[in-house]
Amino acid sequence: MIAHYPALLVTIPLLAAFVIYGCSWLHKKSCLPLALLALAISCAVSIGLLAQAIAKGHISYHLGGWQPPWGIAYEVDPLNALVLVAVSTVAFINLIATAGEIEQVFSDRKGAFYTLYLLFIVGLLGIVVTGDLFNLYVLLEIASITGYSLIAMGQADRAPLSSLNYVFMGTIGACFYLLGVGYIYIMTGSLNMADVRALLPSLYHSSAILVAFIFCLVGVMIKMGFFPLHTWLPNAYTYAPSPAISLIAPLMTKVMAYVMIRLILSVFSPAFTFASLVVGHGIVWLACLAILMGAILALSQRDIKKMLTYIIVSEIGYIVGGAWLGNNTAMTGAVLHIINDTLMTFCVFLAVGGISRKLGSVELNNFKGLFKKMPFTMGAFVASGLSIIGVPPTCGFFSKWYLISGAMEAGSYSFVCVLIISSLINVILFFRIIETAFFAHSDPGNRHDYLLSEIDEISLNTLIPLLMAAAGLLVLGMYSGTVVGRVIQPALAGIL
């Protein structure tokens, strides 16, 4: 059964999703345990795959028993096994944490919510593992359709409109990607990534391949929420329901960032991307702009959730900038940042989700004196804030350190100073919240004080996953040396 791990990884949650939707009509209570079981199995399988990938270096699995250029093949190497583990663990912990809220908020449509939840995870896991360009488009569509409907279930007055804008931008992005794949197909005649990579070197001069690369990149960047194309992200993520957002926010943009890195590394070889493309430096400049604008716009927000969405936009700027600097350390920093940022964003959104469930709205002045009432949640919030800023023991510091040293090596000093400025702005952002939560005691007698008096800590089964995520930040920080040494370096050594 070990040989079938890549296929099992995706099909077990898929089969479970269909069984859950069927049994949500027959026997409602069995939906949650089934969903938890399926995610647990996919977590275990992804960890097993990581072990196999480290041992064997590269696993290829032929779907339907056909050779790659004719059938579809899965390619698993240490890099995407790492992303797989991050995606499935975040999904599993998130379901445990938000199960209570889902049961209460979507009581009559619970089965549909779990089905969309699992299909979203199937789409993401498939995107990370697949070795076929068109199969990646179909999985991208599954992840986005489930994303649209999960986001649309939020507040009745703003969520459907922002979700519809997300539909338009997302469809344009997916169609640009499809167009890019079409241009590759018309020139090379094959859709398998390894096959295309073998055929491409002879075609580098032709303009069609250049345009194919640009369109694939623009499409992926729209889905990623990269700066000039991020207009759909803040609204879509702020008005979505909190169980859906603590799932979508950390995962969707990071997996698309991984797809961009994979396009650079394993389809259009780095020689083509960095050497012949003068646009590489332009994208690093764009990334600096993304980081700065993300941080500045975050400063101007009163609503904490909206502020966090702009922080996501600036984090994406880190990853894209790191990937396009072109040298080994910057790319290691970008990949490490994908993993760290997934965990950081997940922990922050889980904490904010818990607070917004207790307090109703997440305005800044509602945070007055919150620390006395919800010590553990605020503790986790502070830990993830420190990690986003990049304080040494947590994992955020290490990926930033690799990015800065890579930028030094590549000699683009603008990227270095932008990194430092944005860290400073993050410091201001988070300490503004911590200061109101710790020291400002709410003026007695107004509505907020009455509200504050009778809330207490969030329920236990959301608190433990939150504390596990916060602890994970520190653990990942400690072991980032081994993660880089054992997993990322060997995978990148051959290519860059």
Partner: protein, 133 residues
Amino acid sequence: MNMEAFLNHLVAKYNFWLYIILMMIGLYAMIAKNNLIKKLVGMNIFQTAIILFYVSIGSKRGGTIPILEHVSGGAQHAIDPANYVNPLPHVLMLTAIVVSVSTFGVALALAIKIYQRYKTLEEDEILTRIRES
């Protein structure tokens, strides 16, 4: 001379020019139109234009439909791929059509949900009502 070269270059690939025109119509409608459902129509035109591009990749002059005459159990005569149309883009496009219809269905459901809340489908009216509330 390059005018004539440009002409036969244009005629040789007129199908590719067409799909670009259709894509621009779709993109224009999605961006410029005020009504949400009109934007949806633009989105669908955009997707069908890409499907037209894919199918015109696979078409061959003089190629028949990719269904092989099945002599029941008869000797397998050599099939020359030149006189059959390339079937792979057709498979990809079956997927793309189905994806565009399901996105169309979900987007219509969202438009109805917006209409239930705001009683209008015009983008500017909705934004003014959001600002009021």
